[in-house]
């Protein structure tokens, strides 16, 4: 049984992404979910929601954060797949609906990293061997081989940061609303070579949520439901030990994209996809994803970045709301924030950053070392 086209998104919500010093994780979950309820026209969630699929990397109490925040006592499952957790929550929700186990479910992702008192991800030294344990260091490992092979460099990465910072100025709920220049990006302090400060996502607090129902039930709510054509997830060997890694790509993205395109019946993603939200935890991750998702050939990113292929107004606008870079990255919320943006784009509600006539949208989450990836493809009904 395929999940293709069996489920529909009838509501989407997203909190502002910010350093929410005065709000709790529960407050942010409520912000996102109440917006999703309102978007779907759900007025009695205790009657209308059958189950909850939630994701968080930092929440110490797991499902209780959600059930108590919403006072919604339904079968609640936490999912976890590093930075791909948000999309994994959507996948669990879609599978639950497509299988017939539930009719209408809530998927919610949230994280509250700014309650920890540190800037950036935690540096927890738990083991002796896997050091340094910093995401910037892990995601930087493709840089030297890719640069050596294809002649790209830090300037190409900087152009991605400049694009996403620009897009972020157009999204009301984004964290960073600040244009930057290539020179500023290149001159920023080093985080992990080749990444300077502006190559790294802005870690924020936030939550995002969608309501998923059976496609045939969507019309009971309204007539602008978005169809889930595919959600796929993939794993790949740990890049630090994989004996066959070439450090020119991230294998989880390649595998998840292949699976998602097979489910959705897409053979030429560059033509089939109108708008995409990619996991720009670091600028290089976005660059590699252009290629690993099959939008362009391996090694061609540099020329496409220069040509503006992925800018607003380009052939395939990427990270229209500013991405992790500028919109912000509350880890487990990110995948559902991407779905929120894609729903707005497909419904023509994206304001100044609207991609005209967008009919099919892709979102992409990658996480771990990286070792896991999840991809969603949505279309207008």
């Amino acid at each position: 049984m395929s999940i293709a086209g069996k489920a529909a998104i009838i509501g989407a919500g997203c909190s502002a992404f910010a350093e929410h010093w005065t709000k709790s994780a529960e407050d942010l979950v409520v912000d996102a979910v109440l917006e999703a309820y309102a978007d779907a026209g759900i007025v009695e969630p205790r009657r209308q929601i059958d189950a909850v699929f939630a994701g968080s990397l930092y929440a110490p109490m797991g499902p209780v954060h959600v059930t108590e925040a919403l006072k919604l006592y339904k079968p609640t499952t936490m999912v976890y797949n590093y930075c791909a957790t948000g999309t994994e929550a959507l996948r669990a929700a879609v599978m639950a609906v497509a299988s017939g186990a539930h009719e209408t479910v809530l998927a919610v992702g949230f994280d509250k990293p700014k309650d920890r008192g540190v800037s950036g991800p935690s540096v927890n030294i738990r083991g002796v061997r896997e050091l340094p344990e910093t995401p910037a260091g892990w995601f930087a490992l493709c840089a030297a081989p890719y640069f050596a092979r294809f002649g790209a460099g830090r300037e190409d990465l900087a152009r991605i940061a400049v694009k996403n910072h620009h897009n972020g100025t157009l999204a009301p709920k984004s964290f960073l609303k600040k244009e930057i220049t290539v020179e500023e990006a290149l001159g920023a302090r080093l985080i992990a070579w080749p990444f300077g400060l502006y190559d790294c996502a802005a870690q924020t607090d936030g939550a995002a949520a969608v309501i998923v129902t059976r496609r045939d039930l969507a019309r009971n709510y309204h007539d602008r439901a978005v169809i889930v054509r595919a959600v796929a997830s993939a794993s790949a060997p740990h890049p630090h030990t994989d004996p066959a890694h070439d450090f020119l790509r991230w294998k989880p993205t390649v595998a998840a994209a292949e699976a998602a395109y097979a489910i959705a019946g897409i053979s030429d993603p560059m033509r089939a996809i109108d708008v995409a939200q990619l996991h720009d935890c670091f600028t290089l991750t976005e660059l590699l994803s252009y290629e690993d998702l099959g939008f362009i050939a391996k090694g061609a990113a540099r020329e496409h970045i220069a040509a503006g292929t992925f800018a607003l107004g380009g052939e395939l606008p990427v990270n229209t709301d500013g991405g992790l870079k500028a919109f912000g990255h509350p880890t487990a919320a990110t995948g559902l924030r991407m779905v929120y943006e894609n729903v707005l784009q497909l419904q023509g509600r994206a304001g100044a950053r609207q991609v005209p006539g967008a009919a099919t949208a892709l979102s992409h989450n990658i996480g771990g070392y990286p070792t896991g990836c999840a991809v969603s493809i949505l279309s207008r009904e």
Binding site: L131, I191, H240, H245
Partner: protein
């Protein structure tokens, strides 16, 4: 005949130019001292000296391991046992720590000699290492040095023959460090020189001469431990000849504690003519005097060891690395590494042990399922520490907390082995390059939990030890 059949040494690459301690700029050629870096201590240096000494030699006959140091990482928990694990010695090896006195180096050597001569060990490995850390502003801070030496003792044709020895035990409150003290205290300088140093050293040499098997007055070379240059010159004079004294390495390595006279021996073994004799005097709560004869020349590596230098350029580098600065928070001190996990993973962490599947696939760390053929439990253990490798990819991580960011880290392809994610050390960030040739080095990787935690790093493959 039983004697020293192989020797080795480790001098840390970092050097502290002494003008920096006086608030002046470092200039090339100024006196300096060797400085164990933040990822080194007496134990890691001893492992490196041992690897230098043993080379590709089979380690199966080493039945006694002695680790002598006054600066071992633990008051209770044996350094020699950690070293035996790192070197992959047989579990039946007798491991001994010798401490409490700078004289421990020669005491360990003589104990090992006795054991091999008596037939209770086929071969004995003696490792002597010290990090001489002085309080800021003290003479020891400038005069001290950090280094390690290794000697393999066994039957057969020796490199160096120990003809005879004599000891002098002399209780004196001249230099001491109590439990809980970080730095060494010393009594009044001239008292220490006269009664803590010269008097017992001359007494031991005299007693050696009186035994009649070795004449200290007629030997070719003098190898003398000393706290500083003045003391060294005074003892050499009193023994009848500064011209016969070997370079005490003051101003280059520094007075490296229990390894000081023995490091001079390792150096001299490369240049002394076969048949030449040497008096070695090592002080500390008395003195040991050894009469030695060189039987053949050791492989010449000392020049390269001394040339492998990464001099510091600012005093703050030194203070950060040696944890001499007051900071907002104490260092990383989470719950620490689980001792349970440490025990399970000690072969990986201490010996860089991985495994090879019956299908031929090599893996690190050791696991149940093969990544190539997918079959479970067909592995044999394989140690990769003495293998070489090359750098497949890397980053310079400025976010990870360390005394000297950025941390160079990368994926290393082990020759005929697996890929391992490792830090690089003893290499300036600007020199890190794709494909660079690497070898492994045993280091103190962090002190999470307030304990030293050891693992391997990579350094550029070089000619030097």
């Amino acid at each position: 005949m039983t004697g020293i059949v192989a020797c080795g040494a480790w001098i840390p690459a970092r050097r502290l130019p002494l003008p920096l301690l006086a608030g002046k700029a470092a200039r090339e050629g100024a006196p300096e001292r060797a400085l164990a870096w933040a990822d080194e201590d007496a134990l890691t240096m001893a492992v490196e000296a041992a690897r230098d000494c043993l080379g590709g030699r089979d380690r199966g006959d080493i039945e006694l391991l002695l680790f002598a140091s006054t600066t071992g990482p633990y008051a209770e928990k044996q350094g020699a046992a950690i070293i035996a694990a790192a070197l992959g010695l047989a579990p039946g090896v007798r491991t001994v720590d010798v401490g409490s006195s700078l004289r421990g180096g020669t005491q360990a050597l003589l104990l090992a000699l006795d054991a091999v001569r008596a037939g209770s060990a086929r071969a004995a490995l003696v490792l002597v290492a010290d990090c001489r850390e002085g309080a800021p502003g003290s003479a020891l801070e400038a005069n001290g040095g950090d280094a390690a030496v290794a000697f393999l003792l066994a039957g057969g044709e020796p490199l160096i023959e120990v003809i005879d020895s004599a000891s002098e035990s002399a209780e004196s409150v001249d230099v001491w460090r109590r439990h809980g003290d970080r730095f060494t205290h010393a009594w009044e300088e001239r008292f220490v020189l006269a009664h803590g140093y010269l008097e017992p050293a001359l007494a031991a040499a005299g007693r050696l001469g009186a035994r009649g098997r070795f004449d200290p007055a007629r030997c070719d070379h003098l190898l003398l431990s000393a706290p500083d240059r003045k003391a060294h010159e005074a003892l050499a004079r009193a023994l009848g000849g500064a011209s016969r004294a070997a370079d005490p390495l003051l101003g280059s390595v520094g007075a490296c504690g229990s390894a000081h006279a023995l490091l001079q021996l390792v150096a001299l073994a490369e240049t002394a003519e076969p048949g030449a004799s040497a008096l070695l005097v090592n002080h500390g709560d008395g003195a040991d005097a050894l009469g030695l004869r060189f039987r053949r020349k050791a492989e010449a590596r000392m020049t390269a060891r001394l040339a492998r230098r990464l001099p510091l350029t600012s005093p703050d580098q030194y203070r950060r690395a040696r944890d001499l600065l007051v900071t907002e928070y104490a260092g990383n001190d989470f719950q620490g590494i689980s001792a349970t996990v440490h025990r399970r993973e000690r072969a990986e962490d201490l010996a860089l042990a991985g495994q090879r599947c019956a299908c031929g696939h090599a893996q690190f760390p050791r696991e149940r399922i093969c990544g190539a053929c997918g079959v479970a439990d067909r592995f044999t253990d394989e140690v990769f520490a003495e293998r070489r490798g090359r750098l497949l990819t890397y980053t310079l991580d400025a976010f990870f907390p360390t005394p000297e960011p950025p941390t160079a880290v990368g994926v290393v392809q082990v020759d005929d082995g697996p890929r391992i994610y490792l830090q690089l050390t003893d290499v300036p960030a600007a020199d890190v390059a794709l494909g660079m040739a690497l070898e492994f080095t045993f280091r103190r990787i962090h002190t999470v939990g307030g304990r030293p935690n050891y693992f391997w790093k990579c350094r550029p493959r070089g000619e030097a030890a």
